[in-house]
Amino acid sequence: MKPPPFEYHDPTTIPEAISLLGSYENARLLAGGQSLMPMLNMRYVFPDHLIDLNKVGGLDYINTDADGVEIGGMTRQRDIEFSDELAEHCPLLSEAIRHVGHIQTRNRGTMGGSLAHLDPAAEIPMVCAAMDARIRAQGPNGERTIPIAEFALGFMTTALAPDEMLVSVSLPGWASGHGAGFQEFGRRHGDFAIASAAALIEVGGDGKIARASLTISGVGPVPVRIEEAEEGLVGEAGSDGVFDTAAEACGELEALDDIHAPASYRQHLAKVLAKRALAQAWERAAS
């Protein structure tokens, strides 16, 4: 198996990469290559130009400040996994990243690559949805910031223009002591999830839920926030009944139906995993 013929470019700066991307028809950016390379090997894609980002400087960083975390597009998933900063400030990402592929693919795979690929079952887009990520993109006309809700347009389709490049992802911070829950069901560890759920909970001084986020992934074409459940949770103390009610809202989602699982099974999983993720987040949240 061989990739089809293409011209190879290896720019070293962001402006150079953007200029190449803008000057060719049918060009693709190559980040960690853990999705695009299989697609090339299997000849699902035929780019005339491959623009490799691996030599571009200034795209590999994890910066934490009072507002949250900013992660460079070419930051390797394995570096995210090992980051003590992220374990402290962004426990949901720290936990979810361990479920992205395997050691060998996380060593190469990147934050931005996974997000731009936008597989419906992928963990990184789910964490971005759960945390209201803001995606920084650069193109020939400058830079813009895209909220994740406007970035994930549909099945493996992002709001990035053909001449735009994902530069970084910002994850606005949650209060110190918030609880994160992550639940995924797949046939084997490292497989794409059949369904997964992410929950974030902040507990107020009164011991009640002050802020909640609930996201279901792998069920529909893009990760979805369950706003009805989130609103219902605020002001409640965590309990079996409260989480049952919240999870009920996940059972009616539009679900994918494929060789891995029928839609009804994904809907069932969404409810079960949502409840478990919420209970886990509640348990881990410091009151």
Binding site: K2, P3, F6, Y8, M37, P38, D52, I103, H189
Partner: protein
């Protein structure tokens, strides 16, 4: 239209300079250009782990990396695991002693994966090892022999008594 490039790579400590077509994967480069056929190709789309090598000390799928991307980098393949021609690495010995291989097709990938893992986790649990090799498919052993071998090798590498 597919152009070529001249690349310099260090494989198992030895420097090579070759002209390669830019679309050639690192796996095909190692096997066909350098004759290092110990790196095996199973699925060629990143699922089976047979082609795992180390790129600058980190395990990677050589079928999902282009040879041109390895320009200036250091690669380790199964041919570079044993310390000498008549001596095995402790992990290789342990795999042999614990029936960690039958046909041997997955073994190079398992070795390169576990060597990195045991560097990061010198004292792993059985569950840690199973997770570490979750990206390497083996159709012969049922994994039990591989896990036993990894536990034994970890102990040996820590300087404990060999079992």
């Amino acid at each position: 239209m597919s152009a070529t490039r001249t690349i310099s790579v260090t494989v198992n400590g030895k420097a090579y300079e070759r002209e390669v077509e830019v679309r050639v994967t690192l796996a095909d480069f190692l096997r066909q250009e350098l004759g290092l056929t110990g790196t095996h190709l199973g699925c060629e789309h990143g699922v089976c782990g047979a082609c795992t090598i180390q790129l600058n000390g980190r395990s990677a799928r050589s079928c999902l990396t282009l040879a041109v991307q390895a320009d200036g980098q250091e690669i380790k393949t199964v041919e570079g695991v044993a310390p000498s021609a008549d001596e095995l690495h402790p992990l290789q010995e342990a795999l042999s002693e614990h029936h960690g291989l039958q046909c041997g097709f997955c073994t190079p990938g398992i070795l390169l994966t576990l060597l990195e893992f045991l560097d990061d986790n010198p004292d792993p649990s059985e569950a840690d090892i199973r997770l570490a090799i979750s990206g390497n498919l083996c159709r012969c052993t049922g994994y039990q022999g591989i896990v036993d071998a990894a536990l034994a090798a970890a102990e040996r590498l820590r300087g404990g008594a060999a079992k």
